[in-house]
């Protein structure tokens, strides 16, 4: 299981947050994650797949896995960068 979970679906917004909010929120949440800890992100933005891949490549964090189920995109990021 992930150490931290970030629900980018949003509380008051059934259709969820749109670009670039999932990335911005993930960045903030990652700051609270210890080194080598993991962050789970749930999002509804289909563009977030390509964006989280690029985000992880650029920041040096590891995208351990990502999947989609019923319109909910799940990402597991391991904090491997400072």
């Amino acid at each position: 299981m992930a150490d931290h979970t970030l629900d980018a679906k949003g509380l008051n917004c059934p259709l969820g947050l749109n670009c670039p909010l999932p990335i911005l929120k993930a960045r903030k949440a990652l700051k609270e994650v210890p080194s080598d800890g993991t962050l789970e992100i749930l999002a509804t933005d289909p563009g977030s797949v390509a964006d989280f891949e690029a985000f992880c490549r650029q920041t040096g964090n590891e995208l351990v896995e990502h999947s989609e189920d019923g319109g909910i995109y799940r990402f597991l990021i391991k904090k491997t960068a400072a």
Partner: protein, 162 residues
């Protein structure tokens, strides 16, 4: 090469609701990806630094602006865009649509940019031209001119004009 070695600058020249999005989206995302970012606000982009934003958009001269409506997409003929109240209605429609689709407001994105320590430069010449002062602006912007920007641009890997 790590992201820390890259940096980005954006010249922000437009201040309508729709045109305010690209610079703030790219600035906040680049900052989140570890790039130092500078935004230079000039001409109609300068009012995006005002404390109170009342951003508007217009369908005039913008034939590509079509909104999803009744299962299709609808635009407005240029002639109709001149009718009083049409711009306000278009703006309201766009804001509702953005809210429904989970798109951040410009106010929120701007706050995130400040939080991410994006460097904000207000064009001094535009301040004089349109008679603004830093007191009218949010906390954070510094004043600068073309040379200030050029210095930033020579040190940046990505320079955008929006």
């Amino acid at each position: 090469m790590s992201a820390e070695e890259k940096s980005m600058s954006i010249i922000v020249t437009k201040g309508s609701l729709d045109w305010a999005y690209p610079p703030f989206i790219l600035a906040t995302t680049a900052a989140a990806m570890g790039l130092p970012v500078t935004m230079f606000f000039t001409f109609y982009g300068l009012p995006l630094l005002l404390k109170d934003l009342s951003l508007q958009l217009t369908a005039a001269g913008n034939p590509a602006m079509k909104m999803p409506m009744m299962g299709g997409h609808m635009g407005l003929p240029n002639l109709l865009t001149a009718i009083p109240g049409v711009d306000a209605a278009c703006t309201k429609m766009m804001k509702n649509l953005m809210n429904k689709k989970g798109v951040a407001s410009i106010e929120d994105l701007r706050e995130l940019a400040v939080e991410a320590e994006v460097r904000l430069i207000a064009c001094q010449m535009t301040m004089d031209l349109f008679e603004y002062s830093l007191d009218d602006m949010i906390e954070g912007p510094e004043l600068g001119g073309a040379a200030t920007y050029i210095e930033v641009a020579t040190e940046s890997d990505i320079n955008l004009f929006i």
